[in-house]
């Protein structure tokens, strides 16, 4: 494993970045890693871009923000936010998992600017990445009972992807510890895991 391994989780305020990074970070803690998790944003107001940085190491506690250009894995909840993050933290070796469902910024709603065609954004993401997996996470989350659980679905996909040095079992354990055996979140995680293996 590359040490430190740098994982990014990006989205829009309110999409559940904090929970996603807590799940991945807790699974890594469970497996004995030194983990640092930073948020690019105080998460105190909604609607803006939000980014979580996760850094896994066997050696020491790294700073909670990864340096530019050094991302290894990117979990994106929104297509243009994923591309934005790649511009800063991407490199030719980065792997990306992305939910293609747009969340329109105020600038688009107000007509100042247009939201690009999602297919073109995905193409740009592919051009900047070693590997890209597109996950219809919002649709899967609806199956699990609530569209807002797309964050947990995405974490499930990542857990099953083999891109992280972590066992899917550790993710299950963390979700059960936080939400219990029968929670819709566990269903969302399982659906994501199945989706990630497809």
């Amino acid at each position: 494993m590359k040490d430190p391994l740098n994982v990014l989780v990006v989205g829009v305020g309110g999409q559940g970045n904090l929970l996603a990074s807590l799940l991945i970070g807790s699974a890594a803690t469970e497996e004995g890693f030194q983990v640092s998790v930073g948020e690019t944003y105080g998460a105190t107001q909604r609607g803006g871009s939000v980014m979580s940085h996760l850094r896994l190491s066997r050696r020491r506690a790294y700073s909670p923000l990864m340096p530019e250009g050094r991302g290894d894995v990117l979990l994106g909840f929104e297509p243009v936010e994923t591309l934005r993050a790649l511009g800063t933290y991407g490199n030719p070796g980065i792997r990306v998992m992305v939910n293609p469902r747009p969340v329109y910024p105020l600038e688009v709603l107000s007509g100042q600017t247009k939201y690009p065609e999602v297919e073109k954004v995905l193409e740009a993401i592919r051009e900047l990445s070693k590997e890209v997996v597109v996950v219809e996470a919002t649709e899967l989350a609806k199956e699990a009972g609530d569209a807002r659980m797309q964050n947990v679905v995405m974490v499930g996909c990542l857990a099953a992807s083999g891109w992280l040095p972590l066992r899917p079992e550790s993710f299950r354990k963390v979700v059960v510890e936080l939400f219990g055996e029968n929670s819709p979140n566990l269903r969302a995680l399982e659906l994501g895991m199945a989706g990630g293996r497809r």
């Binding site: 511009g87 991407g90 105020l106």
Partner: protein, 640 residues
């Protein structure tokens, strides 16, 4: 059971810096905790609140930081261990008491946790509260990681008790809100019994007594300095005689360590990480400065270490410390504003050491930049879907426009600070600190005699009203200032995570407490007050228009709960959808009012059909857009 209260010494948990601080307090046997919500410090109090039942703690949200420090100070005066946590500007609010309780001292450990905000992510200033430690002559600790946050907080209680002096722990947003692995220590469950023995009085005295206490304070600080010389929180890593010594504290240490590693400079560059930053450990500094070829200060906000260490270096000259090159904020190697990160340290180091660094192929970087600027739109902050502030600012925008006299609108601190931005239709024109909206309105409202005839409107939230607006409202009444104060009452402290306040009807721990209503307070002092629901747009607009015509101080409460509180989230949401048969699309004279003007993230546009549409994942069913759609095309189905 609470997460931070886990009784398993040795267990590794992923905790935030704030949770680390709270855990440290539990391991130290804290009994009383107070604070006022403010980013980034709120979660220290929240974490202790969660643990309060199991550990028999008294935890309160106080009306403001001044009262919070006084509550903790009193508990500590009786011999209990007490903590209070606040954001940077909160320390300003409590500074009167800080500048006297340093002299009167403490019996139990008294810890003041401050959360600074380099880059002002969620604050209106980059205030560096380390200066308060120097100003008040109190010891200051600066943790770098959540683990250290726990260890330092625990030690801060012991130190405070030993010295009989309040001790400060300074965090920053990056530490408070980041998570790291924390290895738990043993919990301290022994409960002390409060005892207050006066005489001697608990006081900072006056005249000769004050000078006597001041002298004792200096003696306490000399003792602190001696202890800091051997503190394990100050660590050096690097060669014995480094060409360059990085002097750093807080999370800047982690950026420094990574930058040195990435540039492969471990053999020529050393890092002295200071955890005890006031008073400075002078002998330790003398030793490391004597072995260094030059010094680079890596710290956030003010050049606190930089200036104080330079002053020491002047003294050290008489002990043979030769001329040294100092680099940092003054030399421009480290930015004097904003937050630091590994890149900024890399830039400073590669410049000073003449080494280059590039994390990815330049052609990749430029292609990335090109694609981002080609496709990625900006994303400004917006009120959440269903936020009552959107309705309130629309009401204000409309009433002020119809009034036509170009009102001055002063803003205040909370989610509604975004009233300055397009999401609040740019209604607000000023923003400073808690309470400054109505305070400055008192001033604007007295300028009529000089020919200033614009109406004056001030805005505050409910929590801010209780925190800092009441003295200004009394002032407005007393001095007959012409102002209309609008309280955007969402029945919670929204921006910091829905803490209760004096109007909520419950205390921090959920005990019932008769709500103190804004309108009752106003009536009690004879100020005209009216209450409306901002979602009743027409009625609220009419009321505001009428009240704008009045004289003297007037208060309008626009009351509707924040849709993100737990109670509101559990309610069944009405389903809102667009009847696209009725929506006239771009042919309508409204110019896509719902998505373009209203700016609710759930009001989107169906491009293929060129009609309005609702994003049902985001919509909370508030129905504001339905009330304002001129074609009546938006349908609200109750009980969705």
């Amino acid at each position: 059971m609470s997460r931070i209260g886990l009784d398993r010494p040795g267990k590794r948990l992923l905790l935030s810096g704030n949770e680390g601080i709270a855990r440290g307090a539990l391991e130290a046997g804290v009994q009383v905790c107070s604070g006022y919500p403010g980013n980034p410090a709120s979660e220290v109090v929240e974490a202790l609140l969660e643990a309060s039942k199991e550990f028999d703690l008294y935890v309160e949200w106080s009306t403001n930081e001044m009262v919070a420090l006084e509550v903790a100070g009193a508990a500590a005066a009786t011999g209990l261990r007490a903590l209070t946590a606040m954001k940077n500007l909160g320390v300003d609010v409590c500074s009167d008491f800080l500048m006297t309780v340093n002299l009167s001292g403490t019996r139990g450990g008294l810890v003041l946790v401050t959360g600074d905000d380099p880059a002002a992510h969620s604050t209106t200033t980059e205030l560096d509260t380390r200066n308060y430690a120097r100003l008040a002559d109190v010891p200051l600790l600066e943790p770098s990681t959540p683990q250290e946050a726990k260890e330092m907080t625990k030690w801060a209680f012991e130190l405070s008790e030993e010295l009989g002096l309040l001790c400060m722990v300074r965090s920053v947003t990056r530490l408070s809100h980041s998570r790291g692995v924390v290895e738990l220590g043993p919990l301290h469950r022994e409960r002390r019994k409060p005892e207050f023995a006066a005489p001697p009085p608990w006081t900072s005295g006056s005249s000769t007594f004050t000078c006597m206490f001041h002298d004792m304070l200096h003696q306490k600080m000399r003792t602190a300095a001696e202890k800091f010389e051997t503190s394990p929180f100050n660590r050096y890593e690097g060669p014995e005689n480094p060409d360059l010594l990085l002097l750093t504290s807080g999370p800047s240490y982690t950026y420094s360590a990574e930058a040195v590693e990435l540039l492969g400079l471990q053999d020529s560059v050393g890092i002295l990480k200071l955890g005890t930053t006031w008073p400075l450990p002078e002998e330790l500094l003398f030793k490391h400065l004597s072995h260094a070829g030059g010094v680079l200060f890596v710290e956030e906000i003010d050049p606190f270490l930089e200036q104080n260490v330079k002053a020491l270096a002047a003294e050290f000259a008489s002990r043979g410390l030769g001329p040294l090159n100092f680099y940092g904020k003054k030399s421009g190697h480290i930015p004097a504003v904003g937050e630091l990160n590994t890149e900024l340290v890399l830039r400073a180091l590669s410049g000073l050491r003449g080494v280059s660094y590039s994390p990815r192929p330049p052609e990749y970087a430029s292609r990335g930049e090109e694609l981002v600027s080609g496709y990625v739109p900006g994303r400004s902050m917006a009120f959440c879907p269903g936020c009552p502030h959107r309705a309130s600012f629309w009401v204000m925008k409309r009433a002020l426009k119809w009034d036509g006299r170009e009102a001055v609108v002063t803003g205040d601190i909370g989610c509604y600070s975004m009233g300055l931005l397009p999401t609040g239709f740019s209604v607000e024109q000023t923003l400073h600190c808690m309470g400054a909206g109505i305070g400055t309105a008192c001033g604007f409202g007295k300028l009529e005699r000089f020919g200033f005839d614009r109406p004056v409107v001030s805005v505050s939230g409910d929590s801010t009203f209780y925190h800092a607006c009441i003295p200004a409202l009394l002032n407005a009444k007393w001095n007959s200032s012409n102002l209309l104060h609008v309280v955007l009452d969402n029945s919670t402290t929204g921006m910091t995570g829905h803490q209760p306040h004096p109007g909520s009807g419950v205390t921090a721990s959920g005990e019932p407490s008769a709500p103190i209503r804004v309108e009752d307070l106003c009536r009690g002092i004879g100020v005209e007050v009216r209450v409306c629901d901002p979602f009743e747009v027409d009625e609220a607009t009419r009321t505001l228009q009428e009240m704008l015509k009045g004289k003297g101080p007037r208060v309008l409460v626009l009351r509707h709960p924040c849709p993100l509180t737990e109670g509101e989230k559990r309610k069944r949401r009405p389903r809102v959808h667009v009847n696209q048969e009725k929506c006239i699309g771009e042919e309508c004279g409204c110019m896509a009012f719902c998505s373009r003007v209203l700016g609710c993230p759930a009001n989107i546009w169906d491009y293929p059909k060129n009609k309005a549409k609702i994003d049902e994942v985001l919509c909370t069913g508030c129905g504001l857009c339905a009330k304002l759609c001129p074609a009546g095309a938006i349908v609200v189905e109750e009980g969705g």
